[in-house]
């Protein structure tokens, strides 16, 4: 797949919305015009971050099974996307993530204990027990407060980027949305505004091929690619193998540089696959054949990157096993630490019910707080 110049005319890259950019071949070699030259340190950091993310997901599933949290959502198979892109962003840039981009935080070494405390809604939860598990917020890490409402934040990313442009800033925003959620109306709001104002934003669609029980066709994905949606707004669009860490990183770098150089928005469809259930409340055996997930379309992104770095002599099976054990242990110990602050809402303060509704608590809320007696 060709790699156009960053300042190419959007009209001259329409083909990239229907093809699939990929770098890692079957032999785990990085090939083609998008292979570029990725810093080996970054590759290993990416690999470790993906492994830590997976270890984190597994540990959280254990907590959920143990009844320590009511709810969890894994991103298994989609680790390369959040991490490959975050490692191309700079401090001060702002992500508007969905619930499946925990990798954005983990690869920045956000304190895992804080993530777990949020999930446990305990006394150390940075969000004071108010939010559903996994709906993190971490301003200092360029991570906008996740909404439980689908699609609403795509336009926030556009608005944030417009603000950056208005202020003559070089910071950029990234929007995140799932394949199913592209059907939401605010997807259109985001694209129209991105088209009209040309702000520095990268609009990601994570096409993991399933919403909850409905496959991508129910979002209109059968007759055109999701990447093609952007063409009708004159926005350049690329369709990429999202399980290919190097492709993710390189395409992200390209789009981020485009934004940073004020050349306008880019949409990227990341083709991937949701191997796990939608959430701990979901049972995919009710709506999709087990063989489909067993086959793992597009393959395990960790395995694919692992093979690449091993092949390049940067990594080994042994170190991989070691790292797996290490991250497993890290998550086990960190979970233990987090549990000391309480599980399943223990330790959340009732006063926090009334705080942060407004900057200053108005009289009627003070009165209601007194009614509750806290």
């Amino acid at each position: 797949m060709r790699r156009p110049e960053i300042d190419s005319d959007p009209d001259d890259m329409k083909d990239l919305a229907t093809s699939l950019i990929r770098v890692l071949n079957r032999k785990a070699e990085a090939v083609g015009p998008w292979a570029g030259d990725v810093d080996t340190h970054l590759l290993l950091h990416g690999l470790r971050s993906m492994m830590r993310t997976r270890a984190f997901d597994e540990r959280m599933m254990t907590l959920q099974r143990q009844g320590k949290t009511s709810f969890y959502m894994k991103c298994t198979g989609e680790e390369a996307i959040a991490i490959g892109q975050q490692l191309a962003l700079s401090l001060g840039d702002m992500n508007f993530p969905t619930y499946r981009q925990q990798g954005l935080l983990i690869c920045q070494d956000y304190p895992i204990v804080d993530m777990i405390c949020q999930i446990l809604s305990n006394e150390r939860d940075p969000l004071h027990g108010r939010q559903l598990p996994v709906l993190y917020s971490a301003r200092d890490y360029g991570f906008f407060t996740i909404s439980g409402n689908l699609g609403t934040q795509y336009i926030h990313a556009v608005g944030w980027a417009m603000a950056s442009a208005i202020k003559g800033d070089t910071k950029i925003a990234t929007g995140w949305i799932g394949d199913g959620s592209t059907a939401e109306n605010d997807f259109h709001a985001a694209l129209v505004n991105a088209s009209v104002y040309q702000p520095p934003v990268v609009l990601n669609i994570v096409n993991n091929q399933w919403a909850i029980s409905s496959y991508q066709g129910i979002a209109g994905g059968d007759l055109a690619t999701f990447a093609e949606r952007a063409l009708g707004y004159g926005i350049p669009s690329l369709r990429v193998d999202g399980n290919d860490f190097i492709a993710v990183h390189q395409v992200s770098k390209w789009a981020i540089e485009r934004a940073r150089r004020n050349l306008g928005p880019t949409l990227i469809e990341w083709v991937t696959y949701r191997v796990a259930p939608h959430s701990t409340s979901d049972d995919p055996s009710k709506y999709r054949p087990r063989e489909e997930s067993a086959a793992w379309p597009l393959g395990d992104p960790i395995l694919r990157l692992k093979n690449h770095v091993i092949q390049r002599g940067l990594w080994s099976e042994e170190r991989h096993k070691q790292a797996e054990a290490e991250f497993d242990e890290e998550m086990r110990l960190t979970a233990k630490e987090a549990e000391r602050y309480g599980v399943m809402g223990e330790g959340a303060s009732d006063r926090d019910i009334f705080e942060d509704v407004y900057k200053e608590m108005p009289p009627h809320l003070r009165k209601q707080r007194r009614e509750l007696g806290v």
Binding site: N122, I212, I353, L365, Q368
Partner: protein, 339 residues
């Protein structure tokens, strides 16, 4: 008579109506093949085919908007919005279109459709799986708003809603799907099995829109409520020993004001109880109407017991939710207030 959970009763209502009226169609997110995230439509696609029962894209405005177009054609869509917290993207279609068609076309076009949506808290769902937005619909002329509290009522009212020639908002208290809930989260979950209101005819029957239900006869005070709070009110009355008359509104609009007024005239004291946030909640309308009608009978101020005026918190759920303890305390206060 069969024993049904509220989920089964709701499913049975749609099943009956899909069978009786070929203009009835059922759709929404995950509603078709899978049968809905709460299983309310499980098996219906298999039984009636995918042109009668189907999945929709994740676009609530589209669900309601397409439903309006279908209703204009002559169908009777019964659509699901997965959680009432996700109904806002469809709010414009509901308010500006569904509620207005008949009026602005002088009856040429109508939106005979039902919009079902699970509402309310008590399932540890946090701010986007717990809301009770009923007052946002009772303020809109042209809509009817229903909140059932038992399997029997849910089925009878849903059939009435589907048969109604006006748009109906049908909010299902999700905490009651599998059993009654009296607001004691620490006690074992109850089920509808064995509950008299869990006895539900398999066939067609209706519960009329606009008629309240007396949950409990009493003489000390009147509790006007609906949804999950019916059970909390009962628990509070039993636990305090205060002989409260409890009215389950079932339909919020049109409101059965007569039943309320008769009770308040009898008891002289009134509590309004709902999960939704207080300010401009439906309790405000109830309070206003009750004092308009019963001013000379009231022995104490009407009291509202409600969710706090904050987003619905996750971990602090049981301090947000108006449970039997809080209701009992306020009931005792109400009895003490001097006239």
């Amino acid at each position: 008579m069969a024993q049904m959970s509220m989920i089964e009763a709701i499913r049975s209502a749609m099943d009956v109506m899909l069978g009786r009226d070929e203009n009835v169609v059922v759709f929404g997110e995950d509603v078709g093949y899978f049968g809905g995230v709460f299983r309310c439509t499980a098996g219906l696609q298999e039984k009636y085919g995918s042109s009668r029962v189907f999945d929709s894209p994740i676009n609530e405005s589209g669900i309601v908007g397409a439903g309006i177009g279908m209703a204009a054609y002559g169908l009777r869509p019964c659509v699901e919005v997965q959680f009432a917290d996700y109904i806002y993207p469809a709010y414009d279609q509901i308010v500006s279109e569904a509620a207005r068609l008949r009026y602005r076309s002088a009856g040429q076009f109508t939106a005979s459709m039902t919009i079902r949506s699970p509402c309310g808290g008590g399932i540890f769902g946090g701010q986007t799986h717990s809301q009770s937005p009923e007052a946002l619909f009772t303020h809109v002329s042209g809509l009817k708003t229903i909140v059932p509290s038992t399997p029997y009522d849910a089925k009878g009212l849903l059939i009435s809603a589907i048969e109604d020639d006006d748009p109906v908002i049908f909010l299902e208290p999700k905490r009651l799907y599998n059993g009654p809930f009296d607001g004691h989260p620490d006690r074992p979950a109850q089920s509808w099995a064995g509950h008299p209101q869990g006895e539900v005819p398999e066939d067609h029957y209706t519960v009329p829109i606009g008629k309240a239900r007396l949950v409990r006869d009493g003489s000390d005070a009147t509790i006007v409520t609906y949804g999950t709070m019916c059970f909390v009110a009962e628990a509070a009355a039993n636990e305090t020993g205060i002989d409260a008359e409890i009215i389950d509104l079932r339909t919020l609009l049109p409101l059965d004001i007569d039943t309320i007024v008769n009770s308040v005239r009898k008891t002289g004291r009134c509590m309004i109880l709902h999960e939704a946030t207080r300010t401009s909640g439906f309790g405000a309308e109830l309070s206003a109407q009750i004092q308009e009608e019963c001013f000379y009978n009231l022995e104490a101020p009407i009291v509202r017991v409600t969710g706090w005026d904050t987003p619905y918190p996750h971990a602090q759920e049981w301090h947000y939710f108006p449970g039997p303890e809080r209701v009992g305390r306020e009931l005792a206060n109400l009895m003490e207030a001097s006239s």
